[in-house]
């Protein structure tokens, strides 16, 4: 018996967020521990990897997700995205980053396909040609995830059928509209948070960091727009963390903990009050600890 009930189908939505997506493991664990289970999981980029681990076997999520993140964080060649970025800018190095990520994903997913997952799963990529979201990519889960997480420069685009696919963050940093399109009547968003940093953090940054920050603001602006649109039609619960480096995988254990704390706070706030047995979240709107300016 769960204390918080949602209109079904309920989707768990995992945003992109590079290393900060580790926090989604903590968030998702707390939701599962409270007996909240999804009918559909949707993810972008590194969030798609977490979503696929959940879809493969919710019962094994805690162990599998931590194992995969631990393996990637231990891989010195992958654990610093800055190093991967330099490799990518230098030319063919990005193919090596992809090969290494493929190895770790294959250890978790072997060669299973989407039909073999326990929960329906959608990963979002960007079709480079049309500029639109693509959700049908890849024969195996591993190939699907590689296209959804093909972050520009760090990894090369992935060819699937006639499409050239890259990271889904370019069109769906928070793939909530894809969840709605797939029929979700409510969503819980495991969100890696706003692109905002403190003013003192931008005092002494270099020109390339100004450029990177402008880029993340662009991505986030679009994600906020999608969240607001979805919240007009269905209940959208966001669990967000605004801390944790997007670039340092070695901090994953701390970021997972931040995710647990954020999820506990949000879900406690939504819990039934005054001795009631349960609360149904059925009114469209934005719930949770989002920092979105909602007019």
């Amino acid at each position: 018996m769960t204390a918080i009930r949602f209109p079904r189908p309920l989707a768990f939505v995992f945003s992109g967020g590079l290393a900060r997506a580790a926090g989604q493991i903590g968030m998702c664990e707390v939701a599962l521990e409270l007996g909240i289970t999804p009918d559909l999981v949707v993810g972008t980029s590194t969030g798609a990897i977490n979503a696929a681990v959940l879809a493969k076997s919710p019962a094994d999520f805690h162990g599998s997700a931590r194992e995969l993140w631990h393996a990637v964080a231990q891989d010195k060649a992958l654990s610093s995205t800055w190093r991967s970025t330099l490799r990518g800018l230098a030319g063919k190095g990005s193919t090596r980053t992809q090969t290494m990520l493929r190895k770790h994903l294959a250890a978790t997913f072997e060669d299973i396909t989407r039909d073999q997952l326990e929960i329906p799963f959608i990963a979002v990529s960007t079709d480079l040609e049309s500029g639109h979201a693509s959700t049908t990519q890849g024969d195996t889960i591993v190939n699907t995830l590689l296209s959804s997480a093909a972050f520009p420069i760090i990894m090369p685009p992935v060819s699937v059928d006639d499409q050239l696919l890259i990271d889904g963050s370019a069109v769906a940093g928070v793939p909530v509209s894809q969840a709605v399109a797939a029929g979700a009547r409510s969503v819980i968003v495991f969100d890696t948070g706003s692109s905002a940093v403190n003013e003192d953090e931008v005092a002494n940054i270099g020109w390339y960091e100004v450029l990177a920050l402008a880029f993340t603001h662009l991505v986030r602006g679009q994600a906020d727009h999608d969240l607001l649109l979805a919240a007009r039609d269905i209940p959208v619960v966001t669990i967000s963390i605004d801390q944790g480096s997007p670039f340092d995988l070695r901090k994953a254990p701390e970021v997972i903990h931040l995710g647990r704390v954020a999820a506990s706070d949000v879900l406690l706030e939504l819990s039934p009050r005054h001795g009631k047995d349960f609360r149904t979240i059925n009114k469209p709107g934005l719930y949770g600890n989002h920092g979105i300016n909602d007019h």
């Binding site: 960007t126 420069i153 890259i166 940093v197 003013e199 020109w207 880029f215 679009q222 300016n293």
Partner: protein, 328 residues
Amino acid sequence: MHVPSPVTISTVGPREPMVLAHRLPRPIAYVMAGGGAHGSVQWGLLQALGETDIAPDVLIGTSAGSLTCSILGEDPLSALSRLAYVWSQLDIEILVGDSWMAMLSAATKKSQSLAENTAEEATLKSILVARDFSELKIPTAAVATDLATGKATAFDSGPLIPALLASSAIPGMLPPVTINGRRYIDGLASANLPARLAVERGAKSIVVLDTGSREPAPISKSATKVVSRVNNILNASQRRAQLAYASSHVPVLVLPTPQDLGAALDFRGTMSAASAAYEDARQFLFDATKLPGRSTLSPGLYARGDRLRSDPDLGQFLVPIETSGERS
């Protein structure tokens, strides 16, 4: 100096003004997008709007659009001839200086930009007489992005030149500008076409003066081409979001703009782009006068229908304005 005039190449000379203002609820905002050298398109669009009876109550612009707004806001009567002069003179050296050695040296250091904005500042001060927003005759706002938070911020009071420099501080290339203790960069990172801000600030109808776009580059796996393509995709989706928000609240008239322009920092084609924009916008505005009914327009996206009809975000708001084939 030779300044080509769009009017001389038009097939029809100016007649009675096209009557359209009574269809637009007031206050009417002109919303001007950023776009570097493509900003010259807005000169052509303003020329076409000058042949209607529409007069803007407020102006809001981003980057190149914030400069066009300031010129118009400072003196609406002389704006067209001043814009003609500005766009015939502007080029990349005037904006970022001509020292490539200095840029290379900046690239290797931890500076906040590749170029300084001293050349741009001197250029702005020579174009504009006003130094404070309060000196402008039409209320004007310049949109920049708060570097730390990513929020779109509209400057409409206080010193004008720093706000314009902030609004057009291309990230990585020109330095962030500190205003009231916070750093700001080009409004393109948050609202390159600030239609939403216009609505939030009270506009009851909007005329969009976009800057057009360039032919999409061929798709390639090269890292730099992918990044440039991603930038286009993000800008396009930000534009759709801005137009969707605005046209669900107020009538939004989107003037057509050329889609075959050169690079955004290539200033060679600015005059011909403006002429083409003028011709199309003039026909569009004439077609808009044929919209059925007499009362003010209801909220919606009043635009050429061809490419928007199937747009998942904008199609629902579209009120297509088709070419009638006959001109005024």
